[in-house]
Every structure is written in C-alpha cells, then in structure tokens.
Symmetry: C2
Subunit: 447 residues, 2 copies
C-alpha cells in the first residue's frame, strides 16, 4: 500500500482523455498536488492508502472547468446596466463606472468575489484580461484558484497607464513578478484590433515571446468591429492580426463571432484558441459564432463567460448548456456539439488553448489534481442514462459539491474552505452601495 | 390588527401587475389561501397580525412561475437519448419506451418526481399533455401543486385508448372527475395537426366548450410538420386549425416555431396563448420561434419546458435566461425581451394563456397566494442593481428557497414539505434501473 494524500471516488469518473470512456465506480489518487493514478475504485483502494477520502457512490468526478475569457473584477458591475445597445452600455455605464471605481482596492475585493463565484461553480482556472493583475494574482492564490492573468494593453489612457508603452511596461513588471508560480500564469492581453494599433500588437507579441507567456485578445466580436477595423487598416481583424504575424498557438482569441470561412482556416492553421462566449454574445446581440464550422475545421473552440457585467454570471456550466443546445438549431442538426464534445470544450480544449495541456484539462497520472465533485442524488438530476448528458443538459452549477485545485480542497460542501464567505459578501455590499448611488447619479445627469 | 395566516416579507416584492414597480421592503398578507393585501412591509405589519412570518431582508418575492407546456411524466425518460435527430429519437427511443412502460403506476411515480423538480424550481403550476391524467391530478394535489392537465387525444392507439373517440371518452371522464377542483384544472389536449384529423379537432373543441375547459395542442413545431400537414390537407397547421374554428383564447399552442407573418396575425387575433419552449426547440434543432415579432403583434407568448426527455429539465428560470438572451441576437437588438417582460411571460402572460388570470399570475388582493421566495445573499447573486435583471439573467432555480401554493408552504428551505424526497428518489432508481436495462436491450436489437 502506497500512502497518498487523498482518494476521490465517484459513481463515474470522467478523465476527459481523448477516446477514454467514463470509469464506472472510479477513483483518483492524489499526492502533493498531483494525480498519482486514475482507475476503478477497487484497483485504487487496493494500491493506495489515503490520508483522506472524498466523493462516493452518489458523486461524479471530472476535471475542473476552464473559463477561457473573462474580466473577473467586473463582477462588481454585474447587472449595472442591461437590455441596452452595446455602445450605450459601454459609453454611458461601463466605461464611466470603470473610470470612477478602478483601483487596487476595488480589484482585490472584486476578484475575490469572482473567484468565489467561479470556484463554487466548478471553475478551477480562468483566463483574465484586465488591469492591476498583481492584485488579481494575489487574491486568486489566496482563494486557492488557478489563473492565467493577462495584463491589459490599450493605446489610450486607463486607470493603470497613459498609453500603450505604459501598459506594456506594466505588463512586463507583472510578468516578471509571477513567472514560475504554480497557480498563476502571467500573460499579456492587447485589448482588440480597434483599440490597439498593429504596432502595439507587434510589441506585445515580442514581449510574450521573450517571456514565453500566453496572449489574450478580443477578436471579431461585433459586426461593427469588422467595419471599423476595415476602415482603419483596409483589412478584417483576423487578417490584420495574421498579416503582422500575431496569430499563433500562444493566442486565445475571445468571441470570433464574425469570421469568414477563410478566416476560420487561418485560425485553424495558426492553432489559435477561440473562446466562445455565447451568453455574452447573445445578451449584447453581438451575434452567434460559427462554432460548428470552426470545430469541423479543427479550431480549438473553448468556452468563456466574458465578464459578469455582460453575462451576468461566471458560470461555465450554463455556457455549456446553452452552447450545446443552440448550435444544434443554428445548423439544423441535433447531433452536433454532443454532450461529450461540449464538456471537452470546457476542459481539455481549454487547457490546450491556454498552453497548459501538459498540466491540466484531463485526469491523468502526473497532471495537477484540479477536479470537481458533483452530488447526483437530487430530484432534477434523476434519473440519468448518460453521464455526459447529465453534466451538459441537466446539471447546474449549484450541484457542484467540492472542488480540488492543485490537490487542495478549496470548495467543500458548496463553500469556500479558504475565506469567510460572509466577509466577502459584506465587502460587496459596501462597494455596491457606493456604485449604485453613483450610477443613479449618472442616469440623472443624462436626463 | 387583523389576524392573517401568513405574512411574507421581501427586500423586493414583485407583484407583476401591469405597470407596477417593485415594492422595496414589501410584504404580502395571506389568509385561507388568498392574498389579503400587498404593500410596504411597514404598512402590512401595522394592519395585520400573522400566525406565521416568512421571508425577510435578504429575500425577494414574486408570483409562482408558470410552465405552459410539458409532459410531466416523461421526466423518467430524462436523457434517455440525446444528440439524435428527432425521428430517430422518437421512433427508436421515446415511443418504444412509452409503449413499454406507460401505466397508471409509472405515471403516478414519474409525475411525483416532476412535481418535486418543478416546485423546487419555483414553478407553481404546469400545463400538461399526456395520458392517465387522473393519476397526475392525484399526485399533483398530494405534492401541493397547481396543474392544468390535458388528457391526450390521438387518432391512433396508445396505452390508454385505441382511437380518437376512445381518447375523447377518457378525456370526458377525466374532466368530470376534476371540474371545480381548487388546484386541478382539467383540460383536453389533441396532440397535433399531423396526429389528429380536423374532425378530431372539431370533436375536441366541442367537448372543451361543453365543459368550459382549456385546450392544449402542439402547433408548427418543426419544418417537416408544415410539409406533412400541407401534403395531407393543402393547408399549414395554423391555417388548418383556424379554418375549422379551433383557434381561440381557450387554446395554448406549444412551440409555434414555423409561423408566417399572417399566421402570427391569426394567433394574435384569436388570442391564442403560445408556449415558447426554447430549450427543447434548440436541442432537437426544431428552430427558433419568432418571439419578438409575436410579442410585437400582441400574441401572448409564455414559457414552457416541454418534457424533460427533450430538454432535459423542468426549469422555467433557465428558459427565461435563454429566451431573454437569445432573441436579442436573433433580431440584433439588445433591448427586446428585457428582464421585466421576460418575467411577465413566465407569470402574468402564462396565467392569461391558461385562462386563469383572475386567479393567479400576479400578487394582488383576492388572488390565490402562489408565490416564490428567493434568498439573494449568495456570491453569484451579488451585487445587483436591478431586481428583474437579477431574476432573469443571474438567478438559478437552486436559489428558490420557499414556495407557497394556494397559501400553503409546499417548499421550505429548498425541500418539499409534503413528501419524503428520499422515497421519491428511491422510486426513480427502481424505475430507471428497469428502463436503463431495457434501453440497452433496444440499442442492441438495432445494431
């Protein structure tokens, strides 16, 4: 018998390894943050002696969910303004609120809430794009959460720098602070082709290559973006970034709603990871990305929540539920985005897009132990005849019982083990009272 | 001080009365199953002395959600077969399963699970179409749930009758058994224009008029239905039913995906209630109903889950979340189906479509006390700046804390007060083990 820290058992263990079947009555053995073995529970319990056991017969176990596009701190602007055209939403509400409130203190408190919401919903890693990412990194680590944090770069002034070079200098400092951290992967995030010049994209790419870190950008989100970029540069966003050598497997491109067939081929050839943010794209009426076509052509399509200001939650389980259903209707074929493929988008494909597939995304020996335990003995989850179908079409994020990140139990029985949730919620009330008052003021000013 | 059974307080009370604003720090006074008064908590607590108090500062209160189209008992076939074309799904899986399993005992046990799932998700009434509805009625009452139960009529044999006349006779007996019941509204449900002849529709209509009960049918669900009906009768489904005088405000028509502009006008003129079942329509790739156009022309569009075999849950909160987002993208306008209108579809419009608007659908004096209490002090529900937005874009069915139907607290702290949930789940396991075995057998037979 080999001593291990933890054994997690499940009625079904889904490794999400390509071609692998669900392991019925399975188990995962974990030590020092890593997966030691995955097999049937009878084999695992004969080989290993655990300090602790979790899961059981009424549980299912699968890899932690991967949120490949968000702006975590914007969770404090959840529902600040809804049912508005994008321009009015951004210019009258979101940008003024960001201009007024963004600070080191705001980011620290807001990211804490975002991490809590994501962890409780089974998300073990998020790919962020925002400002003051040092704070996001510290808080994510305190919450026990993995993150790829992209220091935002824009050509115009923000709360954190006055121009592109300023943002890039911030990003370099941030990257140097966090390179080599177990939970935090620093990255650099040029905002979009309509807010960063090709020259900025080139500089950012050089930084990413120098430090060997991921890249994260918005790409082809709205129809008007296509026109704006074309008018500025005589090229579409995808072709523009491709022409300057920006696109490669280091890049996660969020949205990719307005992409032509030949642009899809570029995304596939260059191995760009695409973050499909269906709830946000629908709610802002940005459009519906050609996900089925992208998948058919070999693009790694993954799932992102976007920010809670446009979504209005940070929930990959509901993104799966909508994406798997919607694309069937879009292509008039109920066999596309089947349940297993959809869960793959939220796990293995996500890890590949973030360049972290050697570390996370599947339950395999020597990978980091990032996994989710769901209690399936609930009225709305019964009966079930297929475990992938259960997860994608029926499960809700509230069904997540426990979450393990890097071998540590960070959510147990639906609550954080790392921080007092009430303290986090008290801070939300303090900030949102201030923001609410200010938002009413802004509305009055306009009328 | 007037004695009342119950006062329910909330940070916000949403009456859903046309034009009414949310009542901040509001309360509802309830006696003998009826709402006595709705006002600010300070006014209510001065006027009334309650035997019991519920709700509080961290709660919101709104009318019970209305599910205008389902086949409740099919919950036992939840996820029996997914990601398949409609024909294969129906002919190879659902119909054989129904043929094999449907019985009085099956219906009683399955409807119990369906009622439990719906009540826990804040649904206080469902509009059903199935067989053995006497059993559904008994079980719904035992669970404390309101229901409009449509005895299914088909021109071909089922487990309950051998032809249309047999089904109609069953329906008449069922209606006579339940007319005048407080919780159960009996109704009659011709399946669809491609499974019931115009003659059957006429006979059914006469029965509904004789007993003054609602009608419930499927209408224009799939593109192929349009072709089939046209080939049979030289008319589209909507025009066919209109030409024989079937359509009026007594009718709830489920789906209405494939309707032209002049057919939308017919639905509006005849005051037909439309049940929009977006999750089911997407998952079976049936198409996306022109909901915005229907609402603009005054059709009462309401929300339905369809059965859990095609959905795969019975959750109006997730239907709201998808419908409110999706139709914005469909018409490229983020201002349509705003949060308040979407909640209206799931409450007041639903009551109007079912002909029960004098009794339910809003929180008003002398209406039945059917309402939902949600706990809003949760990480994913904070902060919030608009209570309608919170409900439609962020809330999950798991946030429902308590549910009151006809003045009775039937769900308290997320659990049924009426039946032992474990006993219900044990029955699910017993049946699903049998069904699973048989389903594997069916699959083997085909290969």
């Amino acid at each position: 018998m080999i001593d291990v820290d933890l054994i997690v058992e499940g009625k079904y263990v889904l490794t999400m390894v390509e071609g692998a079947k669900p392991i019925e009555d399975g188990a995962v053995a974990i030590t020092a943050g890593k997966i030691v073995d995955v097999d049937s529970a009878s084999v695992i319990t004969k080989k290993f002696k655990p300090a602790r056991k979790l899961g059981g017969h009424n549980k299912i176990v699968f890899p932690g969910l991967i949120n490949t596009h968000t702006h975590a701190a914007m969770v404090y602007f959840r529902g600040l303004a809804d049912d508005l055209p994008l321009k009015q939403w951004l210019e009258d509400h979101i940008w003024p609120a960001e201009g007024k409130w963004l600070s080191v203190e705001f980011i620290a408190d807001a990211v804490e809430l975002a991490c809590l919401e994501m962890l409780l919903a089974g998300i073990t890693i998020y790919n962020d794009m925002y400002f003051f990412e040092d704070e996001a990194a510290k808080v994510s680590k305190q919450m026990g959460m993995r993150a790829v944090l992209g220091a935002g770069v824009l050509d115009f002034p923000t709360s954190s720098a006055k121009d592109a070079d300023g943002h890039i200098e911030n990003a370099k400092r941030f990257i140097e602070n966090w390179l080599g951290d177990e939970l935090i992967t620093p990255s650099i995030a040029p905002h979009a082709p309509y807010t960063c010049s090709p020259d900025t994209f080139k500089k950012v790419k050089a930084v990413a290559e120098y430090y060997d870190v991921p890249l994260h950008t918005h790409l082809a989100e709205t129809e008007s973006e296509i026109t704006i970029v074309y008018n500025m540069y005589g090229s579409t966003p995808v072709k523009l970034l491709n022409s300057i050598g920006f696109l490669d497997k280091r890049v996660v491109a969020a949205h990719c709603v307005w992409v032509s067939d030949d642009e899809i081929d570029i995304l596939a050839d260059k191995k760009v990871g695409v973050s499909h943010c269906i709830e946000s794209n629908l709610k802002l009426s940005s459009g519906i990305a050609p996900v089925v076509k992208m998948l058919e052509r070999g693009v790694h399509v993954t799932l992102g929540t976007d920010s809670a200001a446009s979504n209005n939650d940070l929930d990959i389980i509901s993104e799966m539920a909508i994406a798997a259903r919607l694309h069937k209707a879009m292509v008039k074929d109920p066999t596309v985005l089947n349940a297993e493929q959809t869960l793959t988008m939220a796990t293995r494909y996500g890890a590949e897009a973030l360049g972290l597939d050697k570390k996370i995304g599947t339950l395999e020996q020597s990978k980091a132990a990032d996994l989710v335990i769901v209690d399936i003995k609930k009225p709305h989850l019964m009966p079930f005849y297929d475990v992938y179908s259960l997860i994608v079409y029926t499960m809700r994020s509230s069904d997540v019982e426990s979450v393990i990140v890097n071998g540590e139990l960070v959510v147990h029985n639906g609550h954080s083990t790392k921080k007092d949730e009430n303290e986090i919620l008290e801070k939300v009330l303090w900030w949102s009272d201030k923001i609410k008052h200010d938002s009413i003021y802004m509305k009055r000013k306009r009328t």
